[in-house]
């Protein structure tokens, strides 16, 4: 028996060896190495020079960095609340009236497109000369808007593109969550004379909390790392108006070749996202559900 146990353990280690290697080389070691790189000055041509905490000191005094931080925060604010409310609204409508696979399939389409493609589609539709959106606005008697061309509108416009991409997918996740709520609860509420509105607040929303928590936490974390749509539309401009954190890290590390400084900012973002996730876990009291 003991021999068989040992053979089984050996087999198990052989089976996990490949993925253990992948995990070590591309997840665990890099996560630590990123911190090590952040303590150096390094352009990848000459050897890395240890500089201690200098990159972090630089970061604290870097106005562009703090601007990027602020912009990213605003971006998340433009993006997440609206996206979540629209998605929840869509999910409830599908659940109550039209959950057909065709509608769900259509709504999920933007999510299946590469974010780069989503950026290009809207870049073209919002083009100031040939764009259909301004043509439409003028046709209904509204003034044309600069959208990506203006410092005031560029960031909300990028947020709008991403809402377009993710609202259907997020709606589908909410929809799947709604399927787990027993119909009997609605019947009981209805017997008590509750209307649609009251049922939504008293039954749907409380029971959907675990799904809402998952959806909001993952989309906030994704939103803090927005990159692709900016890379093909504004590249951080006009002026600094869309220079979000990941774009700034990209510029510093891969255009200026300041690997140490880029790594310091990535570490900062890691810590920031950790805190954001923890706060949200607390807010949503995840792990407990009214259904259980």
């Amino acid at each position: 028996m003991r021999v068989r146990g040992r053979a089984e353990a050996l087999t198990a280690w052989v089976f996990i060896s490949a993925s253990l290697l992948g995990f070590a080389v591309f997840y665990a070691i890099p996560a630590i190495r990123n911190i090590a790189i952040s303590f150096t000055q390094w352009n990848m041509l000459s050897p890395a020079k240890p500089v201690g905490l200098k990159n972090y000191a630089l970061l604290l005094g870097d106005g562009v960095f703090w601007h990027a931080f602020k912009i990213t925060f605003f971006y998340v604010l433009y993006n997440i609340p609206l996206q979540t409310v629209v998605a929840l609204f869509l999910a409830v409508m599908m659940d109550r009236f039209a959950g057909s696979i065709v509608i769900r399939g259509v709504l999920i389409l933007p999510y299946l497109l590469p974010p780069v493609v989503v950026g290009l589609i809207w870049l073209w539709m919002l083009n100031p000369i040939l764009g259909i959106v301004d043509a439409f606005l003028k046709a209904v008697g509204l003034p044309a808007q600069p959208f990506l061309g203006s410092t005031a509108q560029a960031l909300p416009t990028i947020a709008g593109m991403n809402i377009w991409e993710y609202m259907g997918f997020t709606g589908i996740l909410f929809y799947a969550g709604l399927q787990t709520i027993p119909t009997s609860l609605y019947e009981a509420a209805q017997l008590d004379g509750a209307g649609e509105w009251k049922m939504f607040w008293r039954v749907t929303l409380p029971l959907l909390r675990p799904v809402t928590a998952f959806v909001v936490i993952t989309s906030v974390i994704g939103s803090f790392q927005v990159f692709d749509t900016i890379a093909v539309t504004t590249t951080g401009g006009p002026v600094n108006s869309t220079r979000v954190l990941v774009w700034y890290i990209y510029e510093q590390a891969f255009q200026q070749f300041k690997m140490g400084y880029g790594a310091a900012m990535a570490t900062f973002l890691f810590v920031l996202l950790g805190i954001v996730a923890l706060v949200q876990f607390r807010l949503f009291r995840t792990g407990s559900s009214e259904l259980a």
């Binding site: 089984e8 353990a9 087999t11 198990a12 280690w13 089976f15 993925s19 253990l20 290697l21 992948g22 591309f26 997840y27 890099p30 996560a31 190495r33 790189i37 409508m93 009236f97 039209a98 057909s100 696979i101 065709v102 399939g105 259509v106 709504l107 999920i108 389409l109 933007p110 299946l112 497109l113 590469p114 780069v116 493609v117 290009l120 589609i121 073209w124 040939l130 259909i132 043509a135 046709a139 377009w164 997918f169 589908i172 996740l173 799947a176 399927q179 803090f224 990159f227 692709d228 890379a231 093909v232 990941v246 890290i249 590390a253 891969f254 690997m259 790594a263 990535a266 570490t267 973002l269």
Partner: protein, 307 residues
Amino acid sequence: MAETIDIESRYAERSPRSISAGRVIVWIILLFVIVLTLFPVWWVIRTALSSSNLLFNDPKSLLPIGPTMQNFARVLGLMSVNQAIAAGGSGTTFNFLVALRNSFIVTGCILVGQLFFSALAAYAFARLRFRGRETVFFIFVTGLMVPGVVTLIPNFVLIHGLGWLNTFPGLIAPYFLMTPFAVFFLRQFMLGLPFELEEAAILDGASRFAIFIKVIIPLSQTALLTLAIVTFFQSWNNFLWPFLIGRSESVRVLTAALAIFQTQTPQGAPDWTGLMAGTALSMVPSILFLVFAGRRVVESLQFSGLK
């Protein structure tokens, strides 16, 4: 269709006034959202099918202006450079056919490797007994919480050091052996599989690997298919990594090719019809998947979020 009917009937009895004003409003809103979702996709196709030189004539036309397949021929490299410029091209020789091939190579390799190695590890975590199993699995799961931007610089440095910049191995390696999500997802599924078939195979003297191939993989088909769909789209849509690692044309995937095409406009004005033809090409797999396996895709993604 049985499931759809089920879902719709969930509330059939709930409201006796089934064609109420509220219902009409809901349908109008849903219709609006569907148009909002589909119109931009149509706009890409409409532009890709329009003649470049005529685009200015009627920017509001809902149908292709001077319908033509030239844009596709141009971006697929089926025309000479001079012909392409005459047809409104930017003069950059761009070959989306190669990019399309590269996207398939990269995504195909990642799919095969990631699914196989993750399933093998998941089987060990779910079924085999060994010391440290829970600890190693827990460490894997913490990997789910590491944001991509944290590993970006060190992974780039590693691939650069290996001399794998602008190679397929460089593009594929980080996703080839595992992702924490893949292992986690498959292990959760395999925990729920019945033991009987496995035990019978052990009594027959089958090796663990034979059991994995002949029993576990067939039993895990649904989970593997779900993961395959999720992984396919992650890989096909991925941008930042291939943009950093695979810029040279021989290995450039579609997303990187589109971004680079967008920035290279030697003729001055952007080549919108060409860009939209390239964009349309990169949408093809998503649309095909939805048309031919829509239910599967929707349910896979629905499921991936709830695990």
